[in-house]
């Protein structure tokens, strides 16, 4: 019977990796401080496994085969793709995976009722996973279970399915005896655009979206988040804002309780999300 000791939601903007090197520019000091404080939360929670929910950036998936949700099931896995080393300076890494917990979440011999997972025995993590892990667990010492989501290639799963995924993961983690103390990390964006007219504005493409999104996360309002996250509303917030949906999963993993921290930290890259929910017994 595993305990969920902590649930976090963090950004994965890959340009942070070089921009946050010392001396950290003034507009990024708050982002750096928030990552440090979230790292402290992870250390204090003493997890023995991390389930990390991140958007596939057409690295593990491609249009030749596009799952909705995929669990990476392996004892070791690669981190960072070559183009991300080239473009963002992210280090190539080898991570420990938690094969037992991954198998439990997949249902071992039968997929669970309600979530049609794909799985990969050869997961290769992109920056959606590596940026959070490198800041929150720099030694990459805690075994991970990656949950890849399709938030980038329409048709994407309906928002309600991200909540259903979180409800399922919460129940399945609690039921598992493969780990004792599980931290769940969601990786995504608030309003965000890349490869469109509103990229690199130096501010959020849609501050109103960010405000409402943060309020709903703070309230733990899973149903409200589903109503808010209609496809067209997400698209209007920026062409890759669908990655916010991973935080719906986090909200559900945390039992749709209010977040203890919910903020949008503004910087040159827009509004960076930092969300934290308490552990099961907090």
């Amino acid at each position: 019977m595993a305990e969920i000791v902590l649930t976090l939601g963090v950004p994965h903007t890959p340009l942070l990796w070089t921009a946050l090197r010392a001396p950290v520019p003034d507009d990024l000091l708050a982002v750096a401080a928030r990552f440090r404080s979230f790292r402290e939360k992870v250390i204090a929670a003493k997890p023995d496994a991390i389930v990390i929910i991140g958007s596939d950036h057409l690295r593990q998936f491609m249009t030749s085969n596009m799952p909705a949700f995929l669990i990476g099931k392996a004892d070791t896995m690669r981190g960072t793709h070559p183009s991300e080393q080239r473009s963002f300076g992210l280090p190539a890494s080898e991570l420990r995976g938690h094969c037992g917990l991954a198998s439990a979440l997949l249902g071992r011999t039968q997929l669970p009722i309600g979530v049609d997972f794909s799985f990969s025995d050869e997961p290769w993590l992109d920056h959606a996973f590596m940026v959070p892990l490198l800041y929150l667990t720099p030694a990459l010492e805690i075994p991970v279970v990656p949950v890849h989501t399709n938030t980038n290639a329409p048709p994407i799963p309906h928002a309600s399915r991200f909540v259903a995924l979180g409800r399922y993961l919460r129940e399945a983690i609690h039921r598992s005896d493969d780990a004792d103390r599980v931290a769940v990390i969601g990786s995504g964006h608030l309003a965000f655009e890349l490869g469109g007219p509103r990229q690199f504005l130096g501010r959020s493409p849609d501050p109103e979206f960010d405000r409402i999104a943060v309020e709903l996360i703070a309230a733990g309002d899973g149903e409200g988040l589903v109503r808010f996250c209609a496809y067209d509303r997400l698209l209007a917030a920026g062409n890759l804002s669908f990655q916010f949906l991973n935080f719906l999963t986090c909200t559900a993993v945390a039992g749709e309780r209010p977040a203890v921290e919910a903020g949008a930290v503004t910087c040159r890259f827009g509004s960076e999300p930092f969300f934290a929910w308490p552990g099961d017994w907090s």
Binding site: R59, M62, T63, P82, S83, S87, P154, G195, G196
Partner: protein, 107 residues
């Protein structure tokens, strides 16, 4: 197939280098190399797609409904830093796509 082309180039150091050197011949070779590594898929582009790739016509590629992440990653890989800085590419792209709205990028 435009998305597949950009995806295959971006994920291969050899392909990025080869495209930078000779875009036209690279595109021609890619189309003819179905099932031959390092371009395992290959495929046919439309004449307009082929021309836009060879000339790196930012407005045309965006207007075709190229996937925005793949498009930006591809452009960054083949242009930065040899042809231009990241900031220069940001400015050129903004100018090129201004007024084009949001072409549907669902495949």
């Amino acid at each position: 197939m435009l998305n597949k082309f950009m995806w295959e180039v971006d994920r291969s150091e050899q392909a990025v280098h080869a495209f930078r050197q000779e875009p036209a011949s690279f595109v021609e070779r890619w189309e003819s190399l179905a099932a031959v590594p390092p371009f395992p898929e290959g495929g046919r582009l439309t004449e307009m797609e082929r021309k836009a790739l060879v000339t790196l016509d930012l407005a045309a590629l965006y207007g075709f409904g190229a996937h925005p992440f793949l498009l930006w990653q591809f452009l960054r890989s083949v242009l930065v830093p040899e042809q231009m800085t990241h900031d220069d590419l940001v400015a050129a792209f903004a100018a090129a796509v201004a007024g084009l709205g949001y072409p549907d990028f669902a495949t």
